[in-house]
Subunit: 293 residues, 2 copies
């Protein structure tokens, strides 16, 4: 089968054996924001056409491709949900030359009754179950990072944090950004921001400190972005981290490393999950649908 | 004397009697961001030239005109400070045809030792003392709002909140803004945001709710900006408001009204201060300098 994790800014495709082993991969910057309305079939064919010509007949999609701005809008499935529930809710998409289906996103409500939504992360979570085990708390860093609770193999609840997109907006759209440059991550300044997030003050007050520390020369131009990042991720981790629990981190590279470091600085433990979780999840949901096997 | 409150985006000038009564006023959009380096004398002359021709000889300036991006950078005076201390620290600025002086800004350190700075608000605070009395807590809403503690007629400490600029960046630079329009303030949505700020969740989580409520049709396009504003001001007020104290609000129009409403919604009491506080402060500091009388 073919699995495609199709997000906002990019797309990753996998050709897999019946058992879920990855035998080929492809990626493209063709995230849904870069695909014109009506162009989704052509973009997909451009990526996986050779695999179809080679005999593949089934394509399973996940991610923002199922949103209002995507190919077909899929209704959210409410939590709790597992691979079986997701596989029973697949959306069929007409496509010439293959059987294309779409994994729906999940919804939840927080303690105050405010809606929660995810698209794509549910598939990564299902794919990570083998490594996580039957239960645990999983963090998926990103523009809108997700913290999901797994119990008995089901995604029972999740919460979204806006820290990533808030960081970009504060850096690019406020006076704080005027004191920043493109310096690489400064570990010490990042840790200082994480420490600041734990001093009991409110974030909206502490944000001004990014400016005042720079004004007083107590934070250098090459340090302010790292400090701001540590401050925001620090607030998120302190707010989302239960005491004494190991956090499973799904995601790539630098951002996951920053979350792992923050969790450690805040007294928690973190372990990384294989980056191909989305592929494993697509295979698992495909199998549960008794479709890819 | 002439007093000029010269800020980042605009300028307000007052011609005053020796006793501090305003006899003429002028304003212009010539905030320091709109004045080219070296053009400050010409801009000032353009605004107050007629008053100088009519016999005025002294001009006292306050505000961001004393910042690095302004006319002359004035060192900050540390808290606590009163009118006498400020008047003793005036900076003389060479100017053809008048004696021009500048009120320095104030600095402080918060509980964690992070610097605090203000420029212009110190003069408004001094001008408001007559209405506030010898002690009290004063809030000056703005892009970087200030909460200042007055004791025995002195500004003893203050804290800055970044809520105003954070609101603009979140509205203009994130996905939240895509669900907003230019609708006027929606009182009910604003109050809902204020209520949300008190549900015990973290702001960085609650921000995502602005999007998810809109996605689920539980917040309309004309309501999202008001809700976000209430959420941010609600966090600020809850964080800065001591129980059982009346807050003195300095500032103009709509923003002050929103702060007053939020303080009331959070169980506090607020009273407004005359908008000409800056003029009274300039007169008072001038008198303390034994210069304007």
């Amino acid at each position: 089968m073919i699995g495609v994790d199709w997000g906002t800014s990019s797309l990753r495709a996998y050709r897999m054996t019946e058992g879920g082993q990855i035998i080929a991969r492809a990626s493209a910057p063709s995230g849904i924001l870069h695909v014109a309305a009506g162009a989704f079939p052509a973009v997909l064919r451009g990526i996986v056409g050779a695999w179809l010509a080679d005999g593949e007949t089934r394509i399973l999609l996940s991610g923002m491709v199922g949103s209002r701005q995507g190919w077909v809008e899929a209704p959210y499935l409410p939590c709790p949900a597992d691979a079986v529930a997701l596989s029973a809710a697949l959306i069929e998409i007409p496509f010439d030359g293959a059987d294309v289906r779409l994994v729906p996103g999940l919804s939840d409500r927080d303690e105050a009754g405010t809606p929660e939504v995810m698209r794509g992360e549910e598939t990564q979570l299902i794919g990570a179950l083998e490594q996580i085990g039957d239960q645990g708390l999983v963090c998926l860093p990103g523009s809108h990072s997700k913290w999901a609770r797994i119990e008995r193999g089901r995604i029972v609840s999740f919460r979204t944090w806006f820290s990533g997109e808030a960081f970009a907006a504060l850096r690019d759209g406020t006076i704080l950004g005027r004191m920043m440059d493109d310096a690489p991550l400064d570990d010490a300044a990042f840790a200082r921001g994480v420490a600041r997030s734990g001093d009991g003050g409110h974030l909206l007050h502490q944000l001004f400190g990014v400016r005042s520390l720079a004004l007083f020369g107590e934070l250098l131009t090459g340090q302010t972005a790292s400090y701001l990042s540590g401050l925001l991720i620090g607030h998120e981790v302190r707010g989302a981290l239960p005491p004494g629990e190991t956090i499973h981190l799904i995601g790539a590279g630098a951002l996951c490393a920053q979350y792992g470091r923050t969790i450690a600085l805040c007294g928690g433990m973190a372990r990384g999950i294989d980056e191909d979780a989305a592929a494993y999840g697509l295979a698992r949901i495909g199998r549960a649908a008794q479709w890819a096997v």
